[in-house]
Symmetry: C2
Subunit: 442 residues, 2 copies
């Protein structure tokens, strides 16, 4: 070793290794992440198990030929509607691009068409999926140790991971049957402030939440916006599944937002396709610099994005832009077949549970009206250990809800995802799940 | 306002705004970043100025038709060489993918072909450009306030930005004419350790560095590896321009690395094309968990990547994969025309300077043998103010070298980029630059 009070990076490491994990960032040894990896490992170990664990979109409508069509449609738009020369077209697809993206106007037209959201394209940041937008927002909002984020609990792991990476603590707010317990929101905000903390925002998924499946009523949405205004907190709205609705389509928080209180994070992973990895953030909040100069939060997010990915791949933006153009900016229309599939699967899941666990059964569940997930409450602990046993002895995978709680919570609950299954697999999977329950109760 | 000791996020803000920039993360009000934005703004204000500021790749060989060809080539490879069914092919392009990427093996073959680097595909993380790899590495290495990064100075702004985002301080090491001053490296490591800090790594660009244009000799490379081993620090090697060489091709540090001391961050932005935004990191360091389990640093970087972008867009990976396949994994070969263009431009730039500032002139410059940049030393201060004057009065843009120094440095120097220029623009630009110098000296 060299002189000095501190050892080199290679020190204190077991024989044959170069670095100690304990010297890396805390997010890398997070118990929650370890546990998620453990679940993935189980899934890999039992490839023949039927999976209620995967919340991936259905695959039967994937077609590589579409990528070429989408690309062509976007190029056609640039040349005919936007008047691009061949040189400018080649530049747009090949060269570095604008940090906040080149399809902001197309995204704005989609938001107006499908969600009734009037978004200024200047307030839109096109990102590498939801995840980059989420991380950029949290990185921007976390200035020092006094900052804290609230999140409806149970929470999406992508939020938890991004917050961990930004060194931003997350305080849970009870979700409950309404999607958010507003009294608990107020209590939590005030408790954080009493502890000297600055509450930056509250994260939530008002439509078909992951993992709970719960949607907020219109009355709850309106009251939530009022509470957020009174308490002076931002709301971060995440809406990956909202498009797959049966016709009863409640307005998003952003559509109801008249005070620029809502940062809206959208994604084309489910309504476009995951392989494009294109998402976007609407951040129309006005930010005042010390100089007094006012610009949009989207501009600040762009500065962060320039240090993470520089810009979203032009090729990926072009493909999503083409899909929007070919479908008159309505992904609700583009996804009619997918929506029918998801809604039928959710009905099949809930009916199947009802048939297998009739009235009086100690097994209960909630009844989402859409989305990819439902939650089953069991009369016994549903933890990683049971999940491993379930995979091994009964050939069925699911996700312990405890993974989605920061502290205690969800100990007796399982999340069942039904987005990717065939009717046959779903019925067979429920038979296996019922066998697991019978096994455990016997 | 509500009760509590802390104000809401909307407080302390100028009339009409929603948030104060001062309450956001420090990277957003970084003077260096502000200054970069100022330069971009000047470039936007004088669109007719000839630019020696842009280090973008040349555009004359861009062709949208190639994207379709690259995509087809990659799909053909998956079906014929890898035996993918149509269903699996559609999945590969459309569905979520492996966090660390799907073209790792193709990237490994490219590294072997062009760089003589023997990389295990398992140690390769495919990223959204260089930038995501850089950020993931720094985020992993920054555990707490005692961590510090060293960087050869002057430094690439993408490194500085990523470090700022990871809250990781950067200590400069003198670059000088050899690309790194090894005595200063040792002194700086020891000074940091005496201050109780943990030196995580030293970042550098051994081939045609941005911004200095300097390359390291083979002797310096070998000695650097020895010093790094003795001092027990990692090296982070960045190599965006190395492929554009005239035949005298020195081995990269990673090719010489026998002790897993080098984290290699590559990018296809220049040798592929920027619009794909595909890069990669080779991180073969072995990391020991507390449990004693040893895995690769690449696995840990994947965990971070899963919280930033989930995975690199499949569409973008496929396009780069196709380009590699169509060129027998040699991007040196694929870029023969581009390399000829860059080398000719660099010669033209250096010859042009020589003609305009003959021996005895107070203007001097270095003589890079490749890359995109050269550095001119002037007998007066070359700051943002002069740059604005240069754009306005003489119609020529360049970059003050002071932007690439953390503290003092580069005050009398200008970076001239020549990658994107036509011969005519280059000559006319040098005339204007000479006029600026004459103006300033008169």
């Amino acid at each position: 070793m060299t002189s000095g009070t501190q050892a080199g990076v290679f020190a204190e490491v077991a024989q044959g290794a170069d670095l100690a994990a304990a010297t890396l960032h805390g997010s890398l040894v997070d118990p929650a992440l370890e546990s998620m990896n453990f679940l993935n490992e189980i899934a890999g170990r039992y490839p023949d198990a039927i999976s209620f664990a995967s919340g991936r979109p259905c695959e039967q409508f994937f077609d590589v030929g579409l990528i070429h069509r989408y690309l062509d449609a976007y190029c056609e738009y640039l040349t005919t509607e936007r008047g691009f020369s061949t040189v400018r077209l080649n530049q747009a697809l090949f060269q570095y691009g604008r940090t906040n993206g080149m399809i902001g106007e197309l995204v704005a037209r989609y938001l107006e068409t499908d969600e009734g959201i009037a978004a200024d394209p200047a307030a839109i940041v096109v990102t590498v999926g939801f995840q980059e937008g989420m991380f950029a927002v949290l990185r921007a909002l976390r200035a020092d140790q006094s900052d804290v984020l609230l999140s409806v609990s149970p929470s999406y792991v992508g939020l938890t991971g991004a917050a961990r990476l930004a060194d931003l603590p997350v305080w849970p707010v009870r979700g409950g049957d309404d999607g958010i317990d507003l009294d608990d929101l107020v209590t939590t905000v005030r408790r954080a402030r009493s502890a000297g903390l600055r509450v930056r925002a509250c994260y939530l998924m008002p439509d078909f939440a992951n993992p709970s499946g719960v949607s907020m009523s219109l009355a709850t949405r309106r009251r939530l916006l009022e509470v957020a205004a009174a308490e002076e907190i931002l709301l971060i709205e995440d809406n990956p599944y909202g498009t797959f609705h049966s016709g009863e389509h409640l307005p998003t928080l952003k559509a109801l937002d008249t005070r620029r209180q809502v940062i809206y994070i959208g994604s084309f992973a489910k309504v476009g396709f995951p392989g494009a990895r294109v998402g976007f953030t609407v951040a129309d909040q006005r930010v005042a610099a010390d100089s007094g100069h006012v610009s949009l939060l989207a501009d600040y997010l762009g500065r962060i994005k320039s240090m993470i990915t520089v810009n979203t791949p032009a090729v990926a933006q072009a493909v999503i832009g083409g899909k929007l153009l070919l479908n008159d900016f309505s992904l609700a229309k583009a996804n009619e077949r997918e929506t029918a599939h998801y809604l039928a699967n959710m009905r099949r899941l809930l009916d199947g549970l009802h048939r297998r666990f009739p009235a009086g059964s100690p097994v209960t569940w909630n009844t989402p009206t859409g989305g990819f997930f439902a939650v089953v409450t069991l009369p016994f602990v549903a933890d990683d250990e049971l999940m491993e046993y379930s995979a091994r002895a009964h050939g069925v995978l699911w996700t312990p809800m405890s993974h989605f709680y920061a502290g205690a919570g969800g100990s007796h609950q399982a999340r069942l995802a039904c987005s990717q299954m065939t009717p046959q697999a779903l019925e067979e999977g429920l038979d296996r799940f019922a066998a697991l329950v019978a096994d455990r109760l016997s």
